[in-house]
Symmetry: C2
Subunit: 158 residues, 2 copies
């Protein structure tokens, strides 16, 4: 078995979108993925990329990915935000998630990021334990505020 982590390419987006959809099902939001293949390709590999991508392969096939972008902290400056870390269910337990996570930490280090952040669902104990094993701080005092695109339109068109 050969594990390989590499930078993602536009041609990987189809496999990555499958992983994104699989994660949405796991997170109990199967209908939440509005992004389609064309948009994912354009957003990551068009003129003004909005995210960075690493893919994880086992024996040459994409089985996982990490999607991240630069965020800004008014306390720590430019920081790295890990939006998704996904390994397909059938490929778990082989170290691919670990290798992807380490590669993202390395990317944060190479960029001299002021911190690295992500979110995890409070019931996802395997993921929480995974992060805690790395010494990560996992905090529950912040709530997520959100407007959907429809709510934004409703407020602005009122």
């Amino acid at each position: 078995m050969q594990l390989n982590i590499r930078k993602g390419k536009k041609e990987d987006c189809s496999a990555v979108l499958e992983l994104i959809r699989e994660l949405a099902v796991y997170e109990k939001e199967p209908d939440a993925v509005d992004v389609d293949l064309t948009q994912l390709e354009e957003d990551g590999f068009g003129e003004d990329p909005a995210y960075d991508l690493l893919v994880g392969e086992i024996d040459g096939e994409i089985k996982g990915c990490a999607i991240y972008y630069q965020k800004y902290s008014t306390w720590k400056g430019r920081a790295l935000y890990l939006e998704d870390l996904i390994v397909t269910e059938s490929a778990r337990g082989k170290g691919l998630g670990l290798a992807l996570f380490k590669a993202v930490i390395q990317e944060a280090y190479d960029r001299a990021a002021g911190r690295m952040e992500w979110q995890v669902l409070d019931w996802n104990k395997p993921a929480i334990d995974f992060y805690k094993d790395f010494g990560a701080s996992i905090e529950d005092e912040w709530l997520n505020g959100r407007f959907s695109k429809e709510q934004i339109a409703k407020i602005c068109e009122a």
Copy 2:
């Protein structure tokens, strides 16, 4: 009394840094602000800006600000993340926070952002009520994971 919301300029960074420090005290993390004036100016108004800034004035003086940046959602595409919404304590209750928040929502609308997100501390009831009055969803099921710059270095230099 005259309220005014406008785009921030490099020259505003000194007043904005004071607001950031005031917020850190309110959030019980008075020593958390590592960013200094030079960095804040460079990060916002240098060659590769990492954040956008709106300032709120009362009678020509900066009394509040909103700091935000583009984030990426693998479900909704390019989105707007509101990092900080600050009104100095002595100027609260005059509608400046409301005007700033509306201006950020307008910015999300103008960009066709797929959603708008922010975070709020779970004990900050006035802020939570303020957001709920807008119909925002406020969720508590996500935990924040984090590595500091020092932790990143420790992992990568091991």
